[in-house]
């Protein structure tokens, strides 16, 4: 099952690259550097999904005390940190030619950096506590509190004046994106979601093996 998901992911990523570099047109204002969007936006949406699952797993664990929920939360947290890191790095590289700077303490960038650090702290906490029940309990509390940051990151561009552009696909208004660019973005989002599902499946298997040994 995991193997099939892995091959499906490879197929999705190849389709994503073909859509982003072959099918999607060169953006009129930014030029080719806009193609970083096909990496940057799916990465942050995957991070949101991952941290949403940390929240779900944390609530599930506190409600049922079943180890499976904790495995889900821990695995999703680790992968979420990876994708948030990719979001920050790709955004910084995109920012240099478009904004003229690698980094600025803008509301979206700062809140994303805080989100990253909160979940790095979550992983550190998990690695510091040996006793499985205590680890799962404390991590669940941090996993629930940490999720408060997700809407802050997403709505930061609405709530505060920011250099970062407002939401174009998860915003309240109809997206102004060109259909070809929108399709390329969609294909890459599906590919990243498949990649996340594949990593999650493998990471949860590792957590299960760790409990057995």
């Amino acid at each position: 099952m995991t193997r099939a998901l892995g091959w499906l992911t490879v197929l999705g990523l190849v389709a994503g690259l073909a859509a982003g570099f072959g099918y999607a047109p060169r953006e009129a204002v930014q030029g080719n550097v806009q193609r970083i969007m096909y990496l940057h936006v799916p990465a942050v949406l995957t991070a949101y999904l991952a941290f949403g699952l940390v929240l779900l797993g944390s609530i599930g664990y506190l409600a049922s005390r079943r180890a499976g929920w904790d495995r889900l939360a821990g695995a999703a947290g680790e992968i979420g940190v990876l994708f948030t890191g990719l979001t920050i790095v790709s955004g910084s590289i995109w920012g240099k030619p478009t904004w003229g700077t690698w980094w600025t303490w803008d509301a979206r960038l700062t809140s994303t950096a805080v989100l990253f650090l909160v979940y790095v702290g979550y992983l550190l906490l998990r690695s510091l506590i040996e006793e499985p029940d205590a680890r799962a309990r404390y991590a669940a509390v941090v996993g629930i509190l940490g999720a408060v940051n997700i809407p802050i990151v997403h709505f930061s561009v609405k709530w505060w004046r920011a250099l970062h552009q407002p939401s174009t696909i998860l915003g309240p208004e109809r997206s102004p994106i060109d259909p070809a660019i929108g399709l390329a973005l969609f294909v890459n989002w599906v590919a990243f979601t498949l990649l996340f599902a594949y990593f999650l499946s493998r990471r949860m298997e590792i957590a299960r093996l760790e409990e057995q040994t």
């Binding site: 990496l39 590289i93 057995q212 040994t213």
Partner: protein, 44 residues
């Protein structure tokens, strides 16, 4: 607007390296844990 392909390649290159490194880390960890598991007793 200049082509800026260097920035595009840098972003995708870093992402590819990070994702491949994580995938390899998962594969190595799975192999190490599977090797450490006690073998199942054989049926007579």
């Amino acid at each position: 607007m200049p082509a800026n392909w260097g920035y595009v390649l840098a972003a995708y290159g870093i992402a590819a390296v990070a994702l491949l490194a994580y995938w390899r880390h998962l594969a190595r960890r799975t192999r190490a844990l599977a090797a450490r598991r006690p073998a199942k007793p054989r049926a007579a």
